[in-house]
Symmetry: C2
Subunit: 201 residues, 2 copies
């Protein structure tokens, strides 16, 4: 069986959210699994340049806001731009990695729930409490997760993932890597599909 696809994203990335709603199904059509890697764009931007799209020059920021919503409609995905944006996502990312160690299918449901909480229900997902509540709704033991969020192990795990991302040249969210080929942005989904169909073009 072919190697899994890698999906790198920040939980506060609108295009990461759009990708998250499509990448697993697309990969499955070609018999491929996807490894999800939440990372922290703030660290990435410090190393590789870049800034949140809505904090750029007003003309760029205005277009970005319009494009998030239009791209979501184009893809048939619900989207409401969050009141607080961008926001810190280290708690959500650490929770993801801890849950993944416990139950990888549950971690995937949690990741979808976090993204939808932010980009559909306009919830501030930055605080530990918000993350704990989202997880609890999926049946996760709240105090176990709370302990994990504070643990050095999960802090290190997230740091290692961000370091890996930096090492392989991830400079934004989302990146999808298929057999060493990098695709940046939800708008590369048609190219990803062709790549999976043909093994490269």
């Amino acid at each position: 069986m072919a190697e899994p696809i890698d999906f790198w994203f920040d939980f506060s990335s609108p295009y990461g959210y759009l990708m998250s709603e499509r990448i697993d199904d697309l990969a499955a059509r070609f018999g491929r699994k996807v490894r999800w890697h939440p990372i922290l764009l703030g660290v990435i931007f410090k190393a590789h340049g870049g800034a949140p799209l809505t904090l750029q020059h007003p003309a760029r920021a205005a277009y970005a806001l319009r494009d998030f919503e239009r791209s979501a409609r184009f893809m048939g995905i619900p989207y409401r731009h969050p009141t607080r944006f961008p926001l810190p996502t280290q708690n959500a990312a650490r929770a993801y990695y801890w849950l993944h160690g416990e139950d990888c299918a549950l971690a995937r449901r949690f990741a979808h729930a976090v993204y939808r909480a932010l980009f559909v229900d306009d919830r501030d997902i930055s605080a530990p409490n918000a993350v704990l509540e989202i997880a609890a709704n999926l049946g996760v033991d709240r105090s176990n997760l709370e302990t994990a969020l504070q643990s050095l192990e999960m802090k290190n795990r997230l740091k290692e993932e961000v370091d890996s991302a930096l090492r392989i040249g991830i400079f934004g969210s989302p990146h999808v890597i298929i057999d060493g080929e990098a695709f940046f942005g939800a708008d590369r989904l048609p190219q990803i599909e062709r790549w999976l169909q043909t093994g490269g073009f």
Copy 2:
């Protein structure tokens, strides 16, 4: 008949070139004409932030080079990344506007020839001589065009187009504007098609 679509681009923009190979045919399928507006990205970047993709951080630049070529293959358009890149395009742009005043169909053929000279034949299209030669191959009188390139009228015409672009918030190349709706990037062609089909989504 519906208003023409506006296509804003710099002659040194790879994604502008990709758009230039598709936008007229796409628009024609929906009974729409396209107005082409070559502009100068250097001026645009000064006003709205931004930098040539290949002059950004190495990880971004490396991805951009790969994406130019892969996107061209994906779209079935020949592409060879130019040896000199980016490069000044004011001569090509002024020539376009002068030719457009003489014969708009000829101006369109000239614009395609300039883009293909740069992105297929790896020619340096920055110098007046290169622009004159490309035009001469299309039957344009060389000395008339040479005079026009030096004229205050054509310098002002290009300046007015760049000023218009700044005024309406054009921050990169290509931008396509359909009835007030802005689409940035060759990768927005599927959204442009849907917009033309449906009148908005």
